[in-house]
Subunit: 87 residues, 2 copies
């Protein structure tokens, strides 16, 4: 068995307003940070799992995204899977 | 002026317990998702900004992370900046 690390990115769908992101974008100027046009805020998840193969790991990660981590009505997800060696 | 897109990843420090991640890791098995060892949950932020140069954009993004987006007591951040062309 090999350990894999999945880097999962979950972001609000482009069609939807992202109120948290909009609030940051509208107020970041008052901190002296200039030029910001838009901000979108989502989740980043590192998931460590053991599996027989990268394909098997991918199938578990896909299931985790679909059934648990992302709300597909409001969010989309993408991920990359890499082999992981503990230090 | 050029538009840049910063992809910002903010994660709880490795030294800290991540209760949200632990809760997911401990319960994901009940969904039939096997092999998960650990989960860490953070934020992913897409920040679009205009700046004179990539270096200038980087300095604004660094300031945004430090002063607003990340809580450096509990989180660390990393980012990549790319040129962005609107469709």
């Amino acid at each position: 068995m090999q350990t894999y690390k999945a880097n999962i990115k979950i972001l609000p769908l482009k069609e939807l307003l992202d109120p948290q992101g909009k609030a940051v974008a509208n107020n970041i100027g008052s901190l002296g940070i200039t030029g910001v046009q838009d901000v979108r805020i989502g989740k980043f998840i590192e998931l460590y799992l053991t599996a027989e193969s990268k394909a098997a790991a991918e199938s578990e990660v896909e299931k985790a995204c679909k059934e648990l981590l992302a709300n597909q009505i409001m969010e989309n997800y993408e991920y990359e899977i890499e082999e992981f060696q503990a230090d």
